[in-house]
């Protein structure tokens, strides 16, 4: 079988783990040929890649959508060509997925919620935080930020106040710069909540450079990357959220194969988020 | 075949066989797409002599010199320097073998100082290997003193007038102390004073035993400075003579293959009403209180030394750099000329002095270059250009001006300088102006074409066009003008009628 895969972005650490998960899993299957393309965060490129796959006559397509609101068009293209389609990691915006189209992934609403609830618990429901946001035109950034705000709106976390939120475009050095700028502006947050681990690590570096202990300022990220877990081991990062990239990857390939063989599968295959704290971190050490 | 490196070694060692000729070129051929620029051309340059090169525009003079200076490589032909066969692969090779050239088109770096321009690649260094700016300045001043040039070495070249840039080019070429010095129309931007000054420099170099190739279209210069003269026509070598053995007419005949009877065919035409009237026009710091009238059918010559502000006055008249105060009226109506577009609407046309900077669209073809100005208000309907019509007009203009080109779709870049100038004249003639301002209209134009352009100007005047002609060539001003306005340092110093005007009187007013 030939499966065409269109990834939203190659340069993203998490998506790289996901991609590798798919490729590693594909190697265990005889006669399976994966063709992975990089959409470079461009909806139009992604659409074109799907159309190229269709012209190629692949047996199934796996899409990690750039823009979850643009998926109806992709669904339509694949359905019209009669080729099975599996969305992975980012939940498609379709009202309903037709037959031969599925989604494999985690519910993004959970990631920010798990993260913020833990932060709230550690802070005891009160304190001041700053938020490091991802790239603003990116859905995960908006969703995770929204989750944080939603948690703060609940009764048990009402005492928490957001001092400022700015975008670090997912990047470590921009995270460092932002936090340094905040510190120099006299902000004294109790916690820095970041939309991903990279910016969280940047925040830790900024704190250290400014002589502030990570014991006094809680830093939280999402993704449980290698660097993040190392930081957690060192006691600098206190909260992160594990999203099982490998499981999503292999799940997506499995689902695609089943669809290609004509089997029916559930339209939503969930792989849950898991909260990672210093207590349970060992079990995630070699995963992402 | 001796490599340039060996040559250099030999030369520095002083072990040069003392052959009679510095330079011998044999059977050179060079073709550009569609044009054979040089065909089996030979040329020899003697030590301690000035060898003039004459020929119509596009005859191939510059091309041959560029080959000698290592800019172009010839398709075939042999090349001897001081009796030794040699091959030049780059301008650097030529320079290191003692060949320096003043190019027809100025080749200076506008944002760098005069001193930096002259000594580029040869900057004096201090003990730490850094460029020594003080020494750079001193060396330049020394050079300028020797050549009797007065230009601030630390001013940016971009701020100099064309004439001064030309002087910088001359100084730069001299500074190489090379045996062979090629001058491609060095005086086209100079007035008599600087020309005389340049001749002094040339005589000194000649006395040092150097060989000078001198290209010009000005006959009088030829007889003043040249020892020998070679003539080219259509890429072919016609002949070489001692300057003393030939007459003006001989040379013209060799150049164009026919007689040219009258150089300044000024017709006497009835002078009409005042068309353009200028009162107290001032651009602060540049020119002051300029007042004059031009009548229909009249040719007003503008004379003055380099930098006297003639070009600035013309630019102000045409709205390129408008004056700060004063009044311009056309046909009795006061007009506020703020842009060239307004000037054109009032029937004006302006041929600028700097072909390259303000004239040619180098990368466009001849046709586009010629039609650009007229499209403002002719040959266009609903935005579309009536291409066939314009092309016909341009073709006629090409014939009238005898522009040498295989076809009008050639890039103007590939034309010889004189032919470029003709295209630009054509551009303005197409607009059928009532007031024509010409700034150095025959710069770089050969005798034959010059006569034609003069006839054309005359003809326009007789059709009732008011002409203002700036020229640094005395005979031209004297021959063509009905009246001459002389300027000095941004002020009008006097008017001379055709009858009373003479070179001496103009110089008196111009130098004050």
């Amino acid at each position: 079988e030939n499966i065409g895969v269109s990834m939203a972005l190659f340069d993203d650490n998490f998506l790289t783990v996901l991609r590798n998960g798919m490729q590693d899993y594909a190697k265990t299957k005889d006669g399976l040929n994966l063709q992975v393309e990089d959409a470079q965060n461009d909806v139009s490129k992604q659409l074109s890649q799907i159309q190229n796959f269709i012209a190629q006559g692949v047996d199934a397509i796996v899409v990690n959508p750039v823009d979850t609101d643009a998926t109806p068009k992709m669904t339509q293209l694949a359905t019209a060509a009669g080729i099975p389609l599996v969305y992975v990691n980012r939940m498609p915006g379709d009202k309903e997925l037709p037959a031969k189209v599925s989604f494999v992934g985690s519910n993004e609403v959970n990631s920010g919620t798990l993260q913020m609830k833990e932060v709230c618990r550690i802070l005891g429901g009160k304190g001041e935080i700053v938020v490091l946001m991802g790239e603003l035109s990116n859905q995960a950034a908006r969703q995770r930020t929204q989750d944080i705000e939603d948690v703060i709106a609940t009764d048990e976390c009402k005492g928490i106040k957001i001092l400022d939120k700015q975008t670090g475009n997912w990047q470590r050095t921009l995270g460092t710069d932002l936090v340094t700028n905040w510190i120099s502006a006299g902000l004294k947050p109790n916690a820095i909540v970041s939309n991903n681990d990279e910016m969280a690590i940047g925040a830790i570096q900024a704190l250290k450079a400014s002589g502030i202990s990570t014991k006094d300022v809680l830093v939280a990220g999402i993704d449980a990357t290698q660097d993040a877990l190392a930081a957690m081991k060192a006691g600098d990062l206190r909260v992160t959220v594990f999203q099982n990239a490998a499981a999503q990857g292999s799940g997506a390939i499995d689902t695609a194969l089943k669809l290609a063989k004509g089997e029916t599968v559930e339209s939503m295959v969930w792989v849950p988020f898991e909260l990672v704290t210093p207590e349970n971190m060992d079990k995630y050490m070699a995963k992402n | 075949m001796i490599s340039p490196v060996t040559m250099r070694a030999v030369r520095t060692a002083g072990a040069i066989p003392n052959s009679e000729f510095l330079l011998e070129v044999e059977g050179v051929r060079k073709a550009f797409p569609g044009v054979v620029a040089l065909d089996d051309v030979s040329f020899r340059l003697k030590r301690g002599s000035v060898h003039a090169l004459m020929g119509e525009n596009g005859a191939g003079k510059s091309t041959l010199m560029k080959i000698i200076a290592g800019v172009y490589s010839p398709d075939s032909g042999s090349f001897k320097l001081r009796g030794n066969e040699i091959e030049l692969n780059s301008p650097l090779d030529a320079l290191e073998n003692g060949i320096a050239m003043i190019h027809q088109e100025l080749n200076l770096m506008p944002f760098m100082t005069v001193a930096e321009n002259i000594w580029i690649r040869r900057e004096p260094k201090n003990a730490f290997g850094f460029v020594d700016h003080r020494a750079l300045r001193d060396k330049t001043e020394e050079l300028f003193d020797r050549l009797n040039i007065r230009i601030d070495p630390e001013i940016n070249v971009g701020e100099l007038s064309v004439a001064n840039r030309q002087m910088v080019e001359i100084a730069k070429a001299v500074s190489y102390e090379s045996d062979v010095l090629i001058m491609d129309e060095p005086t086209s931007a100079l007035t008599e004073r600087e020309v005389e000054h340049l001749f002094q420099i040339i005589r000194a170099l000649k006395a040092e035993g150097k060989g000078i190739v001198y290209i010009t279209h000005k006959m009088n210069e030829l007889f003043e400075i040249a020892d020998e003269v070679s003539v080219f026509r259509d890429g072919r070598y016609i002949g070489t003579h001692k300057a003393d053995d030939v007459t003006r007419d001989d040379i013209i005949h060799m150049m164009v293959g026919r007689e040219i009877t009258q150089m300044f065919p000024k017709e006497d035409v009835p002078i009409g009403d005042v068309v353009l009237s200028v009162r107290d026009m001032t651009l602060k710091g540049v020119f002051h209180d300029i007042s004059f009238d031009v009548r229909a059918g009249e040719i007003l010559g503008l004379a003055g030394l380099v930098g006297s502000g003639r070009s600035n006055v013309a630019e102000a008249l045409f709205g390129v750099t408008p004056a700060t105060s004063g009044e311009i009226s056309i046909n009795g109506r006061t007009v506020d000329i703020r842009t060239p577009a307004i000037a054109m609407r009032n029937g004006m046309a302006f041929l600028t002095e700097d072909r390259k900077d303000t004239g040619c669209f180098l990368v466009l073809d001849i046709l586009e270059n010629m039609q650009m100005a007229v499209l403002r208000d002719k040959y266009v309907s609903r935005g579309f250009v009536a291409q066939a019509e314009v092309e016909r007009e341009c073709e006629q203009m090409r014939e009238a001006l005898r522009i040498k080109t295989p076809d009008l779709n050639e890039r103007i870049e590939n034309l010889s300088g004189g032919n470029q100038q003709k295209v630009l004249i054509g551009r303005w003639l197409l607009t059928r102006p009532r007031i024509l301002i010409l700034d150095e209209p025959t710069r770089g134009i050969d005798v034959g074409a010059k006569a034609e352009i003069h006839r054309l100007i005359s003809k326009l005047a007789s059709d009732g066009v008011a002409v203002i002609m700036i020229s640094s060539e005395m005979p031209e001003v004297l021959g063509m003008s009905d009246r001459i306005m002389v300027m000095h340092e941004g002020r009008v110093t006097g008017f001379l009628d055709r009858a009373e005007a003479s070179q001496v009187k103009i110089m008196e007013l111009a130098a004050q």
């Binding site: 992975v36 990089d38 823009d67 609101d69 643009a70 | 053995d245 040619c360 466009l364 295989p406």
Partner: protein
């Protein structure tokens, strides 16, 4: 004194050269690239690359948005300028157009009162927004005299900001079927080619075109020739903006969604297409036909990579090499012909 006896020679040499338009070169490069893929295709996959209608369509389809921008950018480059803002303007106009093309059965519409509008409304809104951006670029360049690079860089940053601010980063979806039609099937290709044809004619046969070339060839000379350079530049940049707006409309219709991140780095592809097609960044030289070919080269490359299943890691490396090689080959052929 030897006497020259022969009569004055004809100044004009008789042979009139047949000049091929310079696009022929880059067209040959395109054919070359396509043939290489065809041959490799038979070797590697045993399939034909070119004889596949669907693929031929996708090849152009996937670059038609770039192509539309590129037509505008070509004109800007011919004037000697540059437009870095096109990608961001695509993003902005995609948002604006999409926000006016939503259906009423969608609860989160940007303008709940303005749903189910006739399809012309979002289209015109997108075009207008693009034109305004272009007008701002042009006016800045004409009246303040700042370099086009800076004016359009400022617009690039600011327009992206406005696009994100417009719906606070939310994508705009649930667009009407009528609107989606513009971006479906062969439509984007048709729009691209029609736009290209219009401006091919405009550049070659109208005064607008002549003045555009003149300004790029020598701005100073253009001014002295009576061209109102400022006003003309504003026109050219406005048209470039308009076309970016059109690109934004087509893109959002194609994706049936408007997203603030749309069009990132499109300006580079558009400029690349123009330059590959022979437009000179120093101004005065360039043709729409060349740009179209340049655009198609980019498209053929993308499809060819997928077709040959070239590993995504190598694709970019190969793409970079092909861009350079295409221009080198073009230059080489041009030089050789000139020598001949």
């Amino acid at each position: 004194m030897e006497q020259v006896t022969q009569p004055a020679q004809r100044l004009e040499r008789p042979q009139r050269r047949r000049k091929l338009p310079s696009e022929v070169n880059i067209f040959l490069v395109l054919i070359g690239i396509a043939l290489i893929f065809e041959i490799l295709g038979w070797i590697v996959t045993g399939q034909s690359f070119l004889f596949n209608r669907q693929r031929l369509l996708v090849m152009i389809l996937q670059v038609s948005v770039i192509g539309i921008i590129s037509v505008g950018v070509t004109q800007v480059i011919i004037t000697g300028g540059i437009d870095l803002s096109s990608g961001s303007v695509v993003g902005l106009t995609a948002m604006i157009a999409a926000s006016l093309a939503q259906t009423s059965d969608f609860a989160r519409a940007v303008y709940p009162a303005l749903t189910d509008m006739p399809v012309l409304v979002p289209i015109l809104a997108g075009l207008a927004a693009g034109t305004v951006a272009g007008l701002i670029n042009g006016s800045l360049i004409a009246y303040t005299g700042i370099p086009p690079f800076i004016a359009t860089l400022g617009m690039m940053v600011a327009a992206r900001g406005v696009a994100k601010w417009y719906t606070r980063g939310q994508p705009v979806s649930m667009l009407s079927d009528n609107y989606a039609t513009i971006g479906s099937g062969i439509w984007p290709v048709v729009i691209f080619l029609v736009v290209a044809l219009i401006f091919h004619i405009a550049l070659r046969y109208t005064r607008y075109g002549k003045f555009t070339y003149a300004i790029g060839a020598n701005m100073q000379a253009a001014r002295v020739s009576g061209i109102n350079v400022g006003r003309h530049l504003i026109k050219v940049y406005a048209i470039a903006g308009l076309l970016s707006g059109l690109a934004g409309v087509v893109l959002s219709a194609r994706a049936i969604s408007g997203q603030a991140g749309m069009g990132v780095a499109y300006e580079l592809d558009a400029i690349a297409a123009a330059v590959i097609g022979g437009t000179s960044l120093s101004g005065g030289v360039g043709r729409i036909t060349g740009t179209v070919i340049g655009t198609i080269i980019l498209g053929v490359m993308t499809s060819g990579f997928t077709f040959l299943r070239i590993d995504a890691y190598y694709q970019e490396i190969v793409k970079g090499i092909i861009i350079v090689a295409a221009v080198v080959a073009d230059q080489y052929r041009q030089r050789k012909r000139r020598k001949a």
